[in-house]
C-alpha cells in the first residue's frame, strides 16, 4: 500500500529525513518510535504532502503510484489520513460542518454527488456513538476550547467518518488520560481491517499496549535504524533510546 524508498526531505534547507525505507501492506499496523527530533513528525507531514517540506531524493508510492506530484488534498482523496499531533482550531466552523465539507469534497473529487443529508446524519450518529462522543460536541467550533483528549477523539472521529486506506496517527497518545487513550485506541482497533493500514507514530510504548503493532521501527537522525516486532517497543520502554543511538553511531 505504502512504499517509501530512500526518502530524503528537508525543511528550510535543513535536512531532516536522510534515507527512509519503509513498506506498509494492507492489514498491517506499523509503529514508528524514536527520540524527540528524530524526524517522526516530518515523516508524517511529508507523506501527507505538506508544502513546506521538500523531498530532495527518493520516492513515495501509494498503491503503486508515485505521489510526489500530488497536492495534500489529492492524497487525502486517495485515502491517506493524518491524525494531527496538534489539531488546529477553526472558529465558527462546527465539527459537523467541517466533516461534512471534507466528505463531500472527497466525493466531488471522485465525481460523486454530495452525500444525502439523511445518510450523513446516520453516519455521524453511528461513528460518534462508537467513539463515545456527546452529540453536543458535534455542534461546537472545530477544536476551539477542546481539551487535549477531545481534540484527539475528534481526529479519530474524522478518521472514522472518512474511512481512509492508510491512517497515520501522529503522537495521538500525547495529552490523553488513560480513559481517553482507551477510547481512542478502541476506535482505531474497530476501524482496522484487512484492507487498510495504520502507522502509529509515538514516543512512548503506552499506546502500543492498546493498538498492537505488527512491526516497530526506530527512527533516529532521519533514518530507520532498527526494525522488529512488538517486543522491540517493550525493549525501548525498558532501556530508553540511548542504546539505539549508540548502536547507530557505532
Amino acid at each position: 500500500m505504502l512504499k517509501i524508498e530512500n526518502l530524503h526531505a528537508s525543511v528550510e534547507d535543513k535536512n531532516i529525513l536522510k534515507g527512509i525505507n519503509l513498506e506498509v501492506k494492507p492489514g498491517e499496523v506499523h509503529a514508528i518510535m524514536g527520540p524527540n527530533g528524530s524526524g517522526k513528525s516530518t515523516l508524517s507531514s511529508v507523506i501527507a504532502g505538506k508544502e513546506e517540506y521538500e523531498v530532495t531524493d527518493g520516492k513515495i508510492y501509494f498503491e503503486g503510484e508515485d505521489i510526489e506530484e500530488l497536492a495534500a488534498e489529492e492524497r487525502a482523496h486517495k485515502g491517506i489520513f493524518l491524525s494531527f499531533q496538534y489539531p488546529v482550531e477553526i472558529p465558527g466552523v462546527s465539527v459537523t460542518n467541517f466533516i461534512k465539507t471534507a466528505i463531500n469534497e472527497s466525493r466531488k473529487a471522485k465525481g460523486l454527488e454530495d452525500m444525502p443529508a439523511k445518510d450523513m446524519l446516520k453516519l455521524i450518529r453511528e461513528k460518534s456513538e462508537m467513539l463515545e462522543i456527546d452529540r453536543k460536541f458535534l455542534s461546537r467550533s472545530l477544536n476551539e476550547g477542546f481539551s487535549g483528549g477531545e481534540k484527539k477523539r475528534n481526529e479519530i472521529f474524522q478518521m472514522a467518518m472518512l474511512e481512509p486506506k492508510l491512517a497515520i496517527l501522529d503522537e495521538t497518545d500525547s495529552g490523553l488520560d488513560i480513559d481517553a487513550l482507551r477510547i481512542v485506541a478502541n476506535g482505531v482497533n474497530k476501524l482496522k481491517s484487512k484492507d487498510n493500514a495504520v502507522v502509529v507514530i509515538t514516543h512512548y510504548q503506552r499506546l502500543l499496549d492498546y493498538i498492537v503493532p505488527d512491526f516497530v521501527h526506530v527512527l533516529h537522525n532521519g533514518r530507520i535504524v532498527k526494525s522488529g516486532g512488538k517486543e522491540l517497543a517493550h525493549e525501548l520502554e525498558e532501556k530508553g533510546y540511548d542504546w539505539i543511538k549508540e548502536e547507530a553511531n557505532a
Binding site: A71, E73, A76, I90, P91, G92, T101, E105, S141
Partner: protein, 482 residues
C-alpha cells in the same frame, strides 16, 4: 509536490474579472458636468419638485460650499473633482408613469445580467424591489400588494409628489442637510432613492429591497433613502449595489435615514459590491455614505452590512437611541482585497434610559488593503442604565495588508455598562494544511475559515441574502492567502 500553488491562485485572482463590470448602452439624459445653484435648480425642476424641496436643496448646497472634505478617516485617495462630475443621468426610456411592461428591453437585459429578474422576483420571492440606475428609480415591484396594507414603497421622487407631507416631516430629521460634507452634497443633488412608510401596527409581510447600480460614466450616484416605521410596525429592508468596471473613480454619496417610532422595529441589511478597482488599485467606486437611524421609545434598529466592494469606503451606519428602552444593533463584515481601503463602523448614541446597543464587527483584510473599524459609543448624562457590547474581530491574510481598530467611548453617566472585546487573527498555513489533509482544497478552505469567522454576522442576514453574501465573500477573497 503541489502543482497548483498559492502563487497560481494569486495570479488567477488578479485576472479574475469583477463579475458585474459590464456597461449597458442605454440612451440616457445626462446633465453637463459641474455643480452650481443652477444645476441644483435644474435637478429639482427635472423632477418637477415643489418649491419647498428646491429651497431645501439650495440650503444644503450653500452649506456644502462652505464645508471642507473630511480627512480624519484612515484612507488615502485622490479627492474627487466635484466640478468634473455629472450630477444627473437617467436612462431616457424610463417613463415617469412607468409600468414594468414599458421598461426598455436593454434595461431588462441588464437586470438579467445582474441576476435580477424583475418578473421572476414578482412571482417567486417574497421581496418587493425598487431598482435605481444612475440617478433614477426604474422599477418598483409589488406596489399593489403592499398598498393593501397601507405600506408605501416607492422612489423618493414619487414620494415627494404623492406624499409630500411625510417627506417634508421626516426628510433631514436624522441626517440634517449640514450634517457632514457628503451628506450636504447629497442633500443638494440627490436624484432618487427609495421611500418607505409602514403604518402603525403593520408588520410588513415581505422584505423590501432596493438595488442600486451606477451605469453611466462620469456620473456620481447620490441616492437618498428614507424609511419610516410608524408606531408598533416592523420592516426588513435590503439593499444591494453594483457598478461597471471603469478606470476612473466613481463617486457614490448616499444618505439613508431610518425613523423607528415607538415600539417599531427596522432591520436594514446591505450587501455592497460596488466595483472595487482592479488588481493594481485603478478605478473603483468611492463609497462615502451617511446612514443613520433614530429610535423612539422601545424601538429597535438593526444594521447588518456585508461590504466587499468599493475602492474607498467611508461609512458608519449609526443609531440614535433617543427613546427609553430602545435598542441599536450593528453587525458588519467588511472585506478588503488588493488596494481597497475601508474605514467603517458605527455610532451608538445613547440618550434614553435603559438603552442597549450591540456592535459586532468582522474585518477581513487581504492583498495590500487597509481595513479600519471606527466606532463611537456615547452615553449621554441622562441615559441611566445604558448598556453596550462591542466586539471587533480582524482576520488578516498575507503580510501586506492592515487591520486597524479605533473605538471611541464617551460615557457621561456612571450607571453605564460598556464592554469592548477585540481580536486579531491570521489565516495560518497550518489551518490550510489541516483542511487540505482532510481533502478540502485551499480555495474551499479559505471560504470555510472566512465563513466561520463571519458566522455571527451572516446569521443576521435574511436567508436569500445570506447565501449571496457567502458567495460574495468567497469571490472577493479567492486566492488571497499568502
Amino acid at each position: 509536490m503541489s502543482k497548483y500553488t498559492e502563487d497560481d491562485l494569486r495570479e488567477e485572482l488578479k485576472t479574475k474579472e469583477y463579475e458585474y463590470g459590464f456597461y449597458t448602452d442605454l440612451k440616457s439624459d445626462t446633465f453637463p458636468i459641474g455643480l452650481n445653484e443652477d444645476i441644483v435648480r435644474a435637478i429639482s425642476k427635472k423632477k418637477n419638485e415643489p418649491q419647498w424641496m428646491t429651497d431645501w436643496r439650495l440650503d444644503a448646497f450653500r452649506a456644502w460650499e462652505q464645508m471642507i472634505e473630511p480627512e480624519w478617516a484612515n484612507v488615502h485617495y485622490k479627492k474627487p473633482d466635484f466640478q468634473a462630475i455629472a450630477y444627473y443621468s437617467a436612462p431616457t426610456s424610463v417613463d415617469p408613469n412607468k409600468t414594468l411592461d414599458d421598461v426598455d428591453p436593454d434595461l431588462l437585459a441588464m437586470y438579467k445580467k445582474l441576476g435580477i429578474s424583475v418578473d421572476e422576483q414578482k412571482k417567486m420571492n417574497n421581496i418587493a424591489m425598487d431598482i435605481v440606475v444612475d440617478s433614477v428609480s426604474v422599477a418598483t415591484t409589488f406596489k399593489k400588494t403592499l398598498g393593501e396594507k397601507g405600506i408605501i414603497f416607492m422612489s423618493i421622487s414619487e414620494a415627494i409628489q404623492e406624499h409630500p407631507e411625510l417627506v417634508k416631516k421626516y426628510l433631514g430629521t436624522v441626517v440634517p442637510q449640514k450634517d457632514n460634507f457628503y451628506a450636504a452634497l447629497n442633500s443638494a443633488v440627490f436624484s432618487d432613492g427609495s421611500f418607505c412608510y409602514i403604518p402603525k401596527g403593520v408588520k410588513c409581510p415581505m422584505e423590501l429591497s432596493t438595488y442600486f447600480r451606477i451605469n453611466q460614466a462620469g456620473t456620481g450616484q447620490f441616492e437618498r433613502t428614507l424609511v419610516i416605521a410608524d408606531e408598533g410596525s416592523y420592516v426588513s429592508y435590503l439593499e444591494g449595489c453594483t457598478a461597471p468596471s471603469r478606470d476612473e473613480n466613481q463617486l457614490h454619496a448616499a444618505v439613508v435615514e431610518l425613523i423607528a417610532l415607538d415600539d417599531a422595529e427596522i432591520k436594514y441589511s446591505t450587501v455592497q459590491n460596488w466595483f472595487p478597482g482592479n488588481a493594481e488599485g485603478k478605478g473603483g467606486v468611492y463609497n462615502f455614505v451617511t446612514k443613520r437611524g433614530l429610535c423612539e421609545k422601545n424601538a429597535k434598529i438593526s444594521w447588518t452590512q456585508v461590504e466587499t466592494g468599493s475602492a474607498v469606503t467611508w461609512k458608519y451606519p449609526s443609531c440614535i437611541l433617543k427613546g427609553d428602552n430602545s435598542v441599536g444593533e450593528f453587525y458588519s463584515i467588511a472585506v478588503t482585497n488588493n488596494y481597497q481601503q475601508a474605514d467603517t463602523g458605527t455610532k451608538m448614541i445613547h440618550l434614553g434610559k435603559n438603552t442597549k446597543s450591540t456592535i459586532i464587527s468582522k474585518g477581513i483584510s487581504a492583498g495590500k488593503s487597509q481595513n479600519s473599524y471606527r466606532g463611537l459609543v456615547q452615553i449621554n448624562s441622562r441615559a441611566e442604565n445604558a448598556r453596550n457590547f462591542s466586539q471587533c474581530d480582524s482576520l488578516l491574510m498575507g503580510n501586506e495588508c492592515g487591520a486597524h481598530t479605533f473605538p471611541y467611548i464617551e460615557a457621561k453617566n456612571k450607571t453605564a455598562k460598556i464592554e469592548h472585546e477585540a481580536t486579531t487573527s491570521k489565516i495560518g498555513e497550518d489551518q490550510i494544511f489541516y483542511c487540505n489533509q482532510r481533502g478540502i482544497d485551499t480555495e474551499k478552505a479559505i471560504a470555510l475559515i472566512v465563513n466561520g469567522f463571519s458566522k455571527e454576522v451572516l446569521n443576521k442576514l435574511p436567508m436569500e441574502f445570506a447565501v449571496e453574501a457567502q458567495k460574495l465573500l468567497e469571490i472577493s477573497l479567492e486566492g488571497s492567502v499568502g
